[in-house]
């Protein structure tokens, strides 16, 4: 009995440790201004890709570099430098999340999360059969 109780308390202690470990680090959804205030710290920024501004992907020069402009929820537009190939369905989604940190006036993204288009498709768009 005493052994079980000791084990159980060790288990509870470890549970506490896990909660502590898990809570110690959390990223938050932020805007470019917040990310700018803490350069180098990693943030998730949700925004609209500005397709009217320059989007540059030149795989001949480097297949792992894609740059574009993103407008965050405060309507600030920043250049995003993404380390990776241009996502295949980048031209469809209205909103994307970039994960990375601010370096000077550029946001260096390690990851881009696109909304799965099936989920966010406007249900009212009707396709008609071709006949």
């Amino acid at each position: 009995m005493r052994k079980l109780i000791i084990l159980l308390s060790v288990g509870l202690g470890l549970t506490g440790a896990i909660i502590f470990y898990s809570l110690a680090e959390a990223s938050e959804y932020a805007t470019f201004e917040v990310a700018r205030a803490h350069p180098g710290r990693e943030y998730h920024v949700l925004g609209k890709p500005r397709r009217d501004l320059e989007m540059r992907y030149e795989p001949q020069k480097n297949a792992n570099l894609f740059t574009f402009y993103l407008e965050d929820s405060d309507n600030n537009v920043y250049r995003v430098v993404y380390n990776g190939a241009k996502p295949r369905d980048f031209d469809t989604p209205d909103k994307i999340v970039v994960v990375g940190s601010m370096q000077g006036d550029e946001f260096h993204a390690r990851d881009i999360q696109l909304k799965c288009p099936s989920k966010y498709n406007d249900g009212t768009r009707i396709q008609t059969a071709s006949q």
Partner: protein, 871 residues
Amino acid sequence: MSPIPSYIGEQLGWGKAGHLLSALALGSAFLSFLLYWKSETWRELKRWARGAFVLHGLSLVGLLGIILYLMLHHRFEYHYVWQHTNTAMEPRFILSALWEGQEGSFLLWMLWHAVIGILVMRLGGCHEHRVMWVLSLAQTFLATMILGIQFLVNGQEIIIGSDLFTLTREHPAMRNVPLFFRPDYLKRLDGRGLNPLLQNYWMTIHPPVLFLGFAATVVPYAFVVGSLRSNDWETWIRPVRPWAFLALGLLGAGILMGAAWAYEALSFGGFWAWDPVENASLVPWLALVAGVHLLLIPRTAGLNLFLAVCLLVGSFVLVLWSTFLTRSGILGDSSVHSFTDLGMTAQLLLYVGFFAWLPAALILHHSSFRWFNLLFPAIPLLFFGVWGTEAVWTRLVFLAGVAVLIGLTLVAVRRRLSGWKSSEPLLSRDMWMFTGSLVLALSWFHIIHETSRPALGKAFRGLGILEKLYPANYAPPSDIIDRYNYVEGLLGGAILLLMGATQFLRYRETPWRPFLRQMAAAATIAVGLTIGVALLVPIRSKFHYLLLLFTALFSVVANGLYAWKVARFKLRASVASLAHIGFGLLLAGAVIAGGYKTIVSSNYRELINLETLNKNFKNSENMLLHKGDTIPMKDYRVVYFRDSVEAPRVYFGVKFFNREGQELFTLWPQVQTNPRMGDVAEPATRHGLGRDLYTHVSYVDKAKLNFLLQPADTNNSTGLRDIGTFSMQQGDSVQLTNSLVIFSSLKSKQPLDSLDIPARLELEGLFTVIGYNGTLSTVKPTILIENNTFQSFPASCPNTGIRIEVKRILPQERRLEVHLSQPVINPKDDFIILQVILFPGVNLLWSGAALMTLGLLLAAYLRFSKDFSSA
């Protein structure tokens, strides 16, 4: 709004039949619950209860038949059919389409519950009625999910469930679409079609197996809860074991099929990413593993038994909680594949809450705290009425209520259960199994806590310190996968060590000396194997991976030794070892594949060095392959040699050679084009015995894809588009859309000695092409005049792709007639960006998975047969 026209061609009878069957399914499930509940005291009712349940099952089969009929016949007047299928879809994906949506997957889940229920009737014996009232109750709740009833409360529209047979034209999002005011709208309507990610054979088999596993977890829960009703903490312990093993085997197979789908069909380059949906299916499995091991201890009692009950109950509640997390939309941005919010959050939460509360309520019912059963629901309800769900007070009172409920239940159990004082020796199987279950419990706690943080953030809004710890706008930390791997790796290592050692321990006391000798033998072999693997796979520096690999191999070796030396390969005694070996191999494979995966496609000739931009950026991972070029990648030489089109899929042929230029194999990674939902790349993998080579096209020029997909016409054979024929004098230029072509000179290749025209004359034109992007190149088409025949050899500009052909020479006018054409795909753009990853040890993982599933199902089978007596 104009009066509703009478629509042409609709088949509304199916929907009406469907609604009738949905109502019947709900009614018969509830009836079955009532009859089974009563049959505890009134035995004769059992026959009727069975009848009600079978009726319930039949109505579900009817529902399935109707929806499949509608999908196969493209009845787009039904919204579900419209949303998930279209006419272009291949019929073999009809099943994937059925469970793509929430309603369809609820139906699938219910169908499996019905199958499990009928299995319980056959095998449940004297526990049938106990299990079945719980199962019927769970089924009643589920049946409301596809009900789709709307009514008004205080002017607020409340919807219960989401109807499988809503008409497209009556769907809230569609009501005002002009198309639906035309009587003949059906002729013009095509469905939205299935998400391309799901058009894959893994998606046809993975969801049904996974849902079968989910459905099977209800039985252990029902055994416990049904027995708690009669305050029985004993008679169900033996009969529940085979059901738990069955659930473990099915759920495990379902999860691993999901991993296989991710590896074979998704392009994130791996089989496990700690995604919330993956976690949601893993956590119930872990809880059940821990619970069933505690139940294996003979005469389990006291703390052991209570922990086992918690874990079995927890397993089903976690299935429901996962359902809530993935279907309510609460995870929002943190998962790739959660469902759309159908506005059923409250209903789902009620479902979880009720089945989490039920066992506690039954325990309290048999204790002196019976009154709290009334207070617990009443007080929060009162607060909901006064402040509403958003208010801080409501949530505070609710949380306090939950805490008190848990506390009281603990006290009640402590009073009810004897055997808390039994003292196990340190070296006993009981003790070590308890420890193992505790570690497993820690592991699932960690995963579920991490996964639930977005939901907790919403629950704790405005609650001071809790709000600080669980921010409402939480985003998973950037290194979330490493953090999962770190904690789960530590706990997993501990589990594996315990798994290897515990088999050799006897229940109660075990002598130290022989045990240590056996352990030493297993450890020695495992160290040898680990060193062997470390020598075989390329990278040896990752010490923590090697340590984890050692623990996995140790558990494999120790269980193998046990099966050989102790169980002497007798099936019944070694079936546990079989499952353990499977699990050990699975983790060994995962450690090798995950820890030593190598990106083959690392770049070597980048014009822009990314590391100068940011030290964390990498040049590697994606490589550019022009068609026809041979590109060295690590030990391979790779050529992208041709495209092959099977609309809507485009395959890219990639040949692999070894260093010596010997052809090894060809892979065809593909892009599945889908103009509405976005294109999806599907990897192609070369499966080898020891290692897999995984390839995936991460980028293709859109113009190239469009060109490949357009119907074959005259230009396709040459791939050229005419620009025109121009008459040019020296110094003339032609302005094109992308460049300027200047005719500089025309010269003979050999020196001309005399004015006579020689028999053989070779002329070379010199053209300068200035691309508007700033490139400058010289293009030299040649002409050969021999024996009065005129031969022209065109040349192409390497930058713009413009092809120059001299058609005629007009010597009198000192002019050339030049034909210009341009490839539809500029050769510069005729490339793919390819990612190539080497995964060693993947086969170890899959064979481990197969062994484990086999072991678990075999354990279930053996324990179902009556003559089985536990060792």
